[in-house]
């Protein structure tokens, strides 16, 4: 049987499946009490991650938020090291010191922060470094819709706009900041339209279809890479789960949520779009991704926790094991 999906389609779908499976494995890890803090899951937003992944180069940087697993995978962070970090293991990306909100991977120029809005200034720093060194790399700062209201967003856009730095600010607008509806607290209907206040290029896409996200994100990256200045790209999507695991979600209607879960699932959307003919092929991709992430989780759960004796290491440089 010859494949129905093109290479690009296969990659997009595979990436989404991996991101979904990764977060499902995190949910399993939580259930098994391998994670003892707050956990933010990206299910529903995979098309954004898959769309980004395509045009990110190794030298580019991505600075993400509290909801960062799929961005990490998109940037090429090793899934096992990431999962091990999320599960607080010694072999984790950050030796179990960082945890799920604070992955730092100097190898792939990927990092994140648990403070809303704080990702963007850090991305701005990368952008300045790239420009100064004459690298043609681009820095991507990720924010949610909620983060677009922060002072950090503004200050970053002001500086990037004035200096025309190679920065792409990606706003994932899932309409909610925990319980707060974007429509109720935003003075504008979209985030993208605020780009004009910064002389930035503006793009707005439906973020549940990687075939829409990928070319738009590529356009943004090309623009920034070519030295034409920052881009503000808004991707609309839907947050499937509570803000954090354990969120009682008193603030939203369960039926409406379930309806959206059905209608705006990037995986279902892509499966429907590819049609019956591709069903088997896609099923295999999905199963493979699920199996891979399950295997990773199984392996991670066997890994040792950091030894308490190292709890004081790494506050300053030169402390602790190399």
């Amino acid at each position: 049987m010859s494949p129905t999906l093109s290479n690009a389609q296969t990659t997009r779908y595979r990436r989404m499946c991996e991101m979904r499976a990764f977060d499902e494995a995190c949910l399993e890890a939580l259930k098994r009490k391998a994670i003892h803090g707050e956990l933010h899951i990206g299910i529903g937003q995979e098309a954004v991650g898959a769309g980004m992944a395509e045009s990110l180069r190794a030298a580019d940087a991505v600075v993400s938020t509290h909801r960062n697993h799929f961005h990490g995978l998109a940037k090429g962070v090793e899934p096992k090291a990431l999962m091990a970090e999320i599960c607080e293991r010694e072999a984790g990306l950050c030796r179990g010191h960082g945890g799920h909100m604070h992955p730092f991977d100097p190898k792939t120029n990927f990092s994140a922060t648990g403070i809303v809005g704080a990702s963007l200034p850090v991305a701005l720093g990368y952008a300045h470094a790239f420009r100064l060194r004459g690298d043609d790399a681009v820095a991507v700062g990720v924010s949610g819709d909620g983060g677009s209201h922060t002072g950090g967003f503004h200050e970053t856009m002001v500086m990037a706009g004035a200096a025309k730095l190679p920065l792409v600010v990606l706003v994932e607008n899932n309409t909610l900041a925990i319980s707060v509806d974007f429509g109720e607290v935003s003075p504008t209907e979209t985030v993208a339209e605020r780009a004009s206040a910064y002389g930035a290029k503006s793009l707005r896409v439906e973020g549940t279809d990687p075939d829409i996200v990928a070319p738009a994100f590529a356009e943004a990256m090309d623009h920034a890479r070519a030295g034409h200045g920052p881009v503000l790209i808004e991707a609309t999507c839907f947050r499937f789960r509570g803000h954090f695991e354990g969120d009682p979600e008193h603030y939203r209607d369960r039926a409406e949520r379930n309806r959206q879960r059905k209608e705006r699932d990037p995986l279902l959307i892509y499966e429907a779009k590819m049609g019956e003919a591709a069903a088997e092929e896609m099923d295999a991709i999905r199963k493979a991704a699920t199996a891979e992430m399950k295997a990773i989780l199984a392996e991670v759960l066997e890994m040792p926790m950091p030894d308490a004796s190292g709890a004081l290491d790494y506050v300053f440089a030169g402390e602790g094991a190399a």
């Binding site: 960082g98 922060t113 607290v185 926790m305």
Partner: protein, 336 residues
């Protein structure tokens, strides 16, 4: 009164206090993220928006700099705002208005402008690592003009919240996330909370367990760990007096001093970072009061100046809990 109020979760007690004060005084209003429709991420403002409307219980965007500053403007306009900074860790984005404006304006205005603002926030460790686990009362306490409250018992939460809302001074009110997840009856002390409004005066420590061998002074969730440790050590013949400080500013070091003078030993336990914070200040004030060299032992146990790690194994090694307290007290008892 047939309902068992000790079955209530602590956040309900807090929202009850705020609701009673808002009903009493219509200049009180609340602004913060998720405090309205969601009733607060822990439920500590549940029901208030329905009761008092969206103008008095404002669901704010993630714009802490704006809405802490709003607190200052509201106070200047004659209102008594409660500003919620969801987690105390986020204060880095909006400390400006707290310490340069709210904390200083009464003084800068020569007493002509009061600043009745409550900055309500949650601190403490429940496993969320370096950026969501801090206490930081030591930071606020270093900055003049701010009262800093961190209660433990349900009874104190209600009374101190009422006192904070009635105070003409800015009060940083730091709840503890681990306590916010509890019901009243899960507390070892102060589980009974009257339905009617009352206040607990800000700045008075409480001896929550009497003892004769050593004084343990602490606050917030650590009081519960201390009580558990004391109960355990009682079985081993060590009698621990536990003082709940309840506020960092004003700091009731006199109550601690009296206790330490009696027991002859002092251990200050602090879930905040050890250095340049509460533990040294309290210890030194006690020593200055009762005389240096008069106590047999003076020690402190606090987070050893590291960020809070993610892994449970590491976290347990740096955040003082019951076990760590027991161990230290045993060591002290053995004269080590």
């Amino acid at each position: 009164m047939t309902q068992d109020r000790t079955a209530l979760p602590l956040p309900m007690i807090i929202s009850e206090a705020i609701g009673q004060e808002m009903a009493r005084d219509e200049t009180i209003l609340a602004i913060g993220e998720d405090i309205g429709r969601a009733g607060g991420v822990f439920g500590a403002t549940r029901g208030l928006q329905e009761r008092f409307g969206k103008g008095r219980v404002v669901d704010a965007p993630i714009a802490e700099m704006a809405f802490t500053g709003m607190g200052v403007g509201l106070a200047q306009a004659g209102m008594r705002p409660l500003i919620e900074i969801m987690f105390v860790d986020f204060i880095g984005v909006c400390l400006e208005q707290v310490y340069n404006a709210a904390g200083k304006i009464p003084y800068m205005s020569g007493g002509r402008q009061k600043m009745p603002i409550v900055f309500k926030t949650a601190g403490g460790c429940i496993g969320s690592a370096a950026q969501h686990s801090q206490c930081l009362w030591g930071l606020f306490a270093h900055l003049p003009g701010l009262k800093v409250v961190a209660p433990c018992s349900p009874h104190d939460h209600k009374g101190l919240m009422a006192a904070a809302l009635r105070s003409d001074d800015p009060v940083v009110f730091i709840e503890h996330k681990a306590l916010l997840l509890r019901k009243c009856r899960d507390f070892a002390h102060g589980a009974e909370v009257p339905e009617e409004a009352y206040t607990v005066p800000i700045g008075e420590a409480a001896v929550v367990r009497e003892g004769s061998d050593v004084t343990l002074a602490t606050l917030s969730a650590t009081v519960e760990h201390a009580l558990a440790a004391a109960a355990k050590l009682a079985g081993e013949g060590l009698s621990v007096e536990v003082v709940d400080l309840r506020s960092v500013v004003p700091l009731d070091s006199d109550t601690v001093a009296r206790s330490a003078e009696k027991t002859g030993r002092l251990l200050v336990v602090d879930e905040d970072y050890q250095s340049f914070g509460l533990s040294a200040e309290l210890t030194l004030r006690v020593l200055d009061t009762i005389g240096h060299g008069t106590l047999k032992q003076v020690e402190r146990l606090a987070v050893p100046d590291v960020p809070i790690p993610a892994a449970l194994t590491l976290e347990k090694a740096v955040v003082p809990g019951k076990e760590m307290i027991v161990e230290r007290l045993r060591k002290m008892a053995n004269g080590a």
